[in-house]
Subunit: 354 residues, 5 copies
């Protein structure tokens, strides 16, 4: 699993176009948009997948809860028709298609528009990826928009299919809550992974820091910067939903929203903790490198300090002066060798003590 | 005593489950849940321990204050029955079992739910550990939930047993206050220990910084990051209790809550002080290492600067040119030796002056 | 494209003059001021360019929307006449001319005065430049002031010319919104460029940091400091417009202003992200340099540690003592060579292991 | 004068005791508590010192202002009697005895309780010390509690003794103000001392940074951390007194409290300024050490670069090959010496230029 | 122009004195206080200078605007008489004399008291200096207090003398505004100078950082710390004047105050920008020094790595063993020389490639 957070690539595709222009700014990943529709109330339940929006009209005949999950954002014509059907403002459609939004919540009175960033695994490369998820909540309908099918919603589908489940007894607001909760839960998985990566780096930092450790720390720090910018507005959005007093939120759901808000705070807490830890690691790395250099320098200094003076002595007695009386002295050579050995050993002892 | 703060391990066990699903996310430490019950008012007092929740029903027959202390969270069935008896919301039970909460307070009108993180010593390994303590305060009842028996409550039990003690004259709100106060007091013990560790490190930093000092500083800094994330929400929770105006808090207890809030502020103050001190230590360590390297380099430079030129001179007179007139000069050798000695001494003097 | 953000050059030209004194504090770039006028409503449309303000009077004969785009700020006489015609306060005219304002919005009741900083490319040198754009919004008129013609407005002109476009159906407030939106969009282009520069630097930092990398990081950091000081007040100004409740803002435009505010937040987010990334790069650079020095020192130490002792040995046997028995031993020379080789190889092996 | 700020030693003496338990947590410095009582109004004035609290009862017979200055906190019995006489809550008495409080103000309606930290010199060792000063202000009475006699109040006593002084005309609230003002003034003395210490360090940093400079900077930084934690809550407490609208504060005193608040802000300003300066010094120190190492390395490199190649040359002509034609050339030796000199001088010139 | 910002020297002269004691805490610079009086309305105008306060009584006979400019603060007697005449509170007089105030504004109902810090050049030494300027604004009178004559007011005097100037038509509040505006404008001059100093340092940092560069950066950083502490409270004071709703501020002046506030914000912006830039410079300096050391180390390592092995070889063939067959081989010497040259060149090539 590698990080794939990128520096912002803004909607330069869109610069200069009038507001409300519908251009999908993301990477096209599916060829054909697909809508999966689940309709349920406490007694009934139906599920179907269509590729053509018109074929599922009229959406609502019965007072059930309907969940339209739109996968694939490049079919702009279909989105326009869907927007007209639900009375969505062109700016909302623009935000759904412009997949570089910050998480936000906007209350339009008869519907609430929520943008989230979902953390998910790319199936093929095992890469980590952030994907925009837009949610429209109306009185009895939830519409979700995304480019690729996210498996985080599988559990929710299962819970809807269960005839006796709580989901079947609650309204569209509870469904929206459950979807957001699943996305927030997704952050915990990333954080677990990042936490493990951090602890592995800490081990490395203590035992044997190498230049690669530095690059890993840097990459982790960078990931935390981007994750942080993703989760703080998430908190704001969910807090707005919690306190917002939208008429679409029924009384029984409020407690669940408070719990959701709580989870978001914990996500932020974890992000900030890892960020603080990683920031400290950079300083420790620098100190560790200095420590190692210190060790290297000490070795060099000891070797040089011992042998350079001895070499000088040897050099002196290698001079070719005609009149060097010591050269002829008896035992001069072994005495000199002994003196050198003593000096050398004395210095080793001295350094060891220091 | 070693630090055992870990990077967040989130409720990945729980990801994908519907809200209100009861799964204990901590480490199972006791085999069987146990409930110790104390009932008292100013005249009467009783105490018993049960392993089976049903056996203690009905809880309340007399208008006394009741303290249910639940030790062991893995018996989910018992918790569900207890929750039903006291009318607790499934999300509250979920939070009690999911032992990675941040400290928080939630006012449900007829009961107040408080989550705290308690600092305690692990009996066997002498390790430092954070454990979640959940407290439910109702009109005349306090329920505490924890995985292992905490000895911080021993003093409170003693005070309840004293017939003339203040505790006996006050209500459940005062008992809840006393329990939280005992937990906050526990932080002071950790802080004393961390303060001592910090001062020991400061000594080491000044006298002889070694690589191990760096790792100690880093560990301490890391502990402070996690402790900090634990005490700031504690402040919020207690502040909410203090100002909250819950109808469960009687007038006489308010002053004690203000005092408790005061203690929390002092815990935060101490945490922040130690954190600031530790942050400064990292910079000093780096400077100290540089200082030491500087010393080492100076020794090397002095030795090299003195002996390398002298060795060169000796090398010159060791050359084998046929026509080197100096070699035959009278006293050339002692004069050269003297000159070398003078140059060497002059350089030593020069370096000493610098 | 090079950065041309400068440290503040304040209005020292103006120090000591009474308030309301009209002096253009920028660099004079066009010789003659020029006013281009667009008048339109849903049915009619006219466009003309004048160099003389009087020639375009009376401005308003019909209840159309009028856009006066003033290019060139050094013709102070004309600005005074224009100010008198529209009832602008002398301090407003002063702010228009003093082109070192922070972005701001001032609501004067019958007109709103907005100062923005526009990011644009200098045609000749390809340099990046910030230019002040002042906007006056009245009931049915928008006046824009700038020193040089900005091409960011070309798209808006096109949209006005379209007979069926939304622009033609909306009032002056929507025109003002569209102009500001075009300026905010201009920031995304700069940010894309800076993001690319940052990622290129990151590559360099990992593969081969050179001193030039350091200067690039520093320049980038500096740019972010100034960009940041430009976009934060922009947010304030647009937020004031959004919530301000100015009577000049019609109901249908409010939603667009909210969208504009959203864009500004995203600009700030991107600026802060790049700033955080760049800040981390400085630390990594320093560590990288230390790493490289470490490598260099290791090479030196290994070479010195291997050869200095060997040289000493060679020096010993180069001494000229008369009585050095080893010199005469059979095979002494090859044995010594072999011993030297063994010592040397042993040390290489030792260092490799370490 | 040395710094004696310590890392927090919390009330571990008290952990586990019920709230309101009276234990003096400080160091016992005086054997016997002593109460000095001053009673005055504009016409009368009396002063006495008692060791026994009962002997001064009844405190109030006349409508004068009374100042009870309690020196010595280990006589808990006396404090309890005093508390009962004045109707003080047990938690207030606890806070007076637990001398590790943060500065705070609590308004109990009929009395105001203020805790301050007073900076004072230890008479014997000349050491700097923080001591807790608790102040109770009632309608016509001020009680101050401290462990040792503080000489900061000497001036106030003098002003009370002056029959025509302003003090005699004002009430108990003005006396309380004067006492707090004297304590705040005490901070200015510490700050003057710390400011001088900082400037001396700056000199050292520029002229000749030694390892001791580093430790001094660190100690100063540490002192600022603790001083900072002392003065910020002081500001809060005084601000609460200023705006609090306690009925005990008469109208004429309000202006003085505003002035006092102003002084506190200046104390904070000075603390923050010194802190900012000291923080910058650490970075400069590290750079200075690097600079010095750079100098040392340059010397080593120059010496080595000049002499190592020359020594190599001398070594070459010291080889004992039988057939080395240069050795026999006429003037080979002086020519080589000249060449060596030229190379050496050329390198010196080259390095000087660089 | 050198910086002369000093660490705080507090009013230790005053410690222990009762509040309202009048002691001038600054340096005495003028021998005799001097009052210059300007009286004007739209038709009349008079100007005189007195050294004796009594001689200018009664101040007000006509409903003109009066500006009393008091230069010299050591004549305390005169200040007391002036204070009595205008009904100033002793604490206000104390603040005027205690010239280490932070900028502040106090509204006393019938007069407003403003303290500012004025940046000015010391005439003789060309040094930069902060001087306290106190301003009293009453209904029809402005009194300014300063130790030395500031030339920043010369322009205002000129504007008053002009019979048709705006100044003559406006009241005392506009005069006060104009005086403060002149002082704020003075900051822009300092900031221009500091901005130039910063850009010069940046050049130096890139081209050739020397230890003096470090000290310059440090001095600049220090200046920014103090300037910052001066301008933030300035903003507060002016904001209080702007929004304060003092009855002394007439309607026409409000717009000018808003403009003044705007200027203050720009001063703060510039101070913060320079501060951010300077902070980044310290890190770059450290990296630059490391870079340079890296260069030096590389030279040393290359020289040592090339010549130490070669010297060893020469040493080997300088040994005096009797039986060294190579010494007698034909062409052994030139072959060895060639081998040495090849090894040396190979290493140079190798290093160049790296």
């Amino acid at each position: 699993m590698r990080s794939a957070f990128r520096l912002p690539r803004h909607h330069s595709k869109k610069t200069g176009t009038p507001p409300g222009t519908l251009i999908y700014t993301g990477e096209k990943k599916v060829d054909k948009a697909r809508i999966s529709i689940m309709e349920y109330d406490s007694s009934e339940y139906s599920e179907r997948v269509v590729e053509d929006f018109e074929s599922c009209l009229p959406i609502k005949e019965k007072p059930t809860v309907t969940w339209l999950n739109v996968v694939g954002l490049s079919d702009i014509g279909m989105l326009e028709r869907l927007g007209k059907e639900f009375g969505l403002h062109p700016l909302v459609l623009e935000d759904i298609l412009n997949v570089h939004q910050r998480p936000k919540l906007e209350d339009f009175g008869d519907f609430v528009f929520i943008v989230l960033r979902m953390a998910c695994h790319d199936g093929e490369a095992g890469e980590l990826r952030m994907e925009q998820m837009s949610i429209i909540l109306t009185e009895d309908c939830v519409i979700t928009f995304q480019e690729t099918e996210a498996n985080v919603f599988d559990d929710i589908r299962k819970r809807i299919r269960e005839p006796k489940g709580k989901m079947r007894r609650m309204g569209a607001d509870y469904l929206a809550y459950a979807l957001i909760d699943a996305i927030v839960d997704g952050y915990f998985i990333i954080l677990d992974y990042l936490g493990q990566r951090t602890e592995a780096l800490e081990m490395e930092l203590v035992s044997d820091p190498v230049p690669e450790t530095l690059h890993e720390i840097y990459r982790l720090k960078r990931d935390m910067i981007f994750l942080r910018r993703s989760v703080w507005p998430l908190r704001e959005a969910i807090s707005a939903l919690d306190r917002g007093g939208s008429s679409l939120i029924r009384e029984g759901t409020e407690l669940y929203l408070r719990d959701l808000y709580d989870h978001t705070i914990r996500v932020i807490d974890a992000v900030e903790s890892i960020r603080d830890v990683v920031t400290g690691m950079l300083d420790v790395y620098l100190s560790s490198v200095s420590n190692k250099m210190n060790e290297v320098m000490k070795v060099l200094t000891i070797i040089a300090t011992i042998f350079i003076p001895l070499s000088f002595l040897a050099g002196v007695y290698g001079m070719n002066f005609e009149d060097m009386p010591e050269l002829g002295w008896a035992h001069a050579y072994p005495v000199l060798l002994a003196a050198m050995a003593i000096v050398g050993i004395a210095m080793v002892v001295y350094f060891r003590m220091k």
